[in-house]
Assembly symmetry: C2
Homo-oligomer: 142 residues x 2
C-alpha cells in the first residue's frame, strides 16, 4: 500500500495512547487489594479458561518458577484452584474460582467505568468512529 508513512505515525500514536490509557485505568486497581501480577494472572485464567502452569507463565511472559509462586499465593487467597491435570500427571490444571471471577469482574468494571465516563462526553459521530477504530485494532491483534 502507498500510505505507509502515515501508518508509522498511526503506530507511534496508538502505542503512546495505549500506554497512557492503561496507566490511567491502573489507578483503580488499588481497590482490588491484589498486586498487579496477581490481578493480571487471574485475568488470563478468567478469560482464557483453565491452563497449565507453563501456558500461564508463557501468557504472562514470566518463567515457570515465578508463576508457580504466584499461583500458590492465589490458591491461598481462594481465587484459583490447582489440581493434577487429567491425562498427564506431571502437569497441573489451574482455574479461577467463582470468587476469583467475581473479584476480577468487579475490578474490570471499575476500570471500564472510568473509561465510559470519558467516552460519554464524545459526540455520537465520534463514538461511532472510535468504535470502528477499535474493530480494526481487534483484527490487527488477531
Amino acid at each position: 500500500m502507498t500510505g505507509d508513512h502515515r501508518m508509522e505515525e498511526t503506530a507511534t500514536r496508538l502505542h503512546s495512547a495505549a500506554i497512557r490509557l492503561l496507566r490511567m485505568l491502573r489507578r483503580q486497581d488499588e481497590a482490588s487489594g491484589l498486586s498487579a501480577p496477581r490481578l493480571s494472572a487471574l485475568s488470563v485464567l478468567v478469560f482464557a479458561g483453565p491452563l497449565s502452569l507453563a501456558e500461564l507463565a508463557s501468557a504472562e511472559q514470566v518463567r515457570p518458577p515465578t508463576m508457580s509462586r504466584l499461583v500458590e499465593s492465589l490458591v491461598e487467597a481462594g481465587l484459583v484452584t490447582r489440581e493434577v491435570a487429567p491425562g498427564d500427571r506431571r502437569s497441573v490444571r489451574i482455574a479461577a474460582t467463582e470468587e476469583g471471577r467475581r473479584l476480577l469482574e468487579a475490578g474490570r468494571q471499575r476500570r471500564v467505568q472510568v473509561l465510559i465516563n470519558r467516552l460519554e462526553k464524545l459526540a455520537e459521530s465520534e463514538g461511532r468512529a472510535l468504535a470502528r477504530g477499535v474493530d480494526i485494532l481487534e483484527r490487527v491483534l488477531r
Copy 2:
C-alpha cells in the same frame, strides 16, 4: 448522548485491546537490557522532560523510596542524571542523558516496528479509519 449502551461495549473492547496490544509489544523490551520499571521511568523522563523525585514517583504510581532506588540504578547505568534542583536544595532534578534517550528511542522503535508490520496489512480505508480512532482516543485521554 443517546448511544450509551454502545459506549459501554466500546470501552470494554478498547480496554481489552489495549492490554493485548501492550502485552504483545512488551516482548521486544527484552532486547533493551533494562527491566520494565527502569524502562518505564526512563520513558517518562524522556517524554516529559526533567522532573523531581516526587513528580516522577507520582507519574509512575510508586512511592518516593521506590523511585529513589530506581533512579539510583539508572544513574549508575549512565542513563539519567540527578542533581540538586536550582532554587530548592531539598529537591532533586532528574533528567535523561543522551545515552538514555538513545536507548529508549531504540526500544520504542523496536516496539513500534512490530505494530507497523501489522498495520501495513490493512487496506487504505481501514488505515484511515484507525488513524481517526486514534485521534479521538488521544482527545479522550487529555
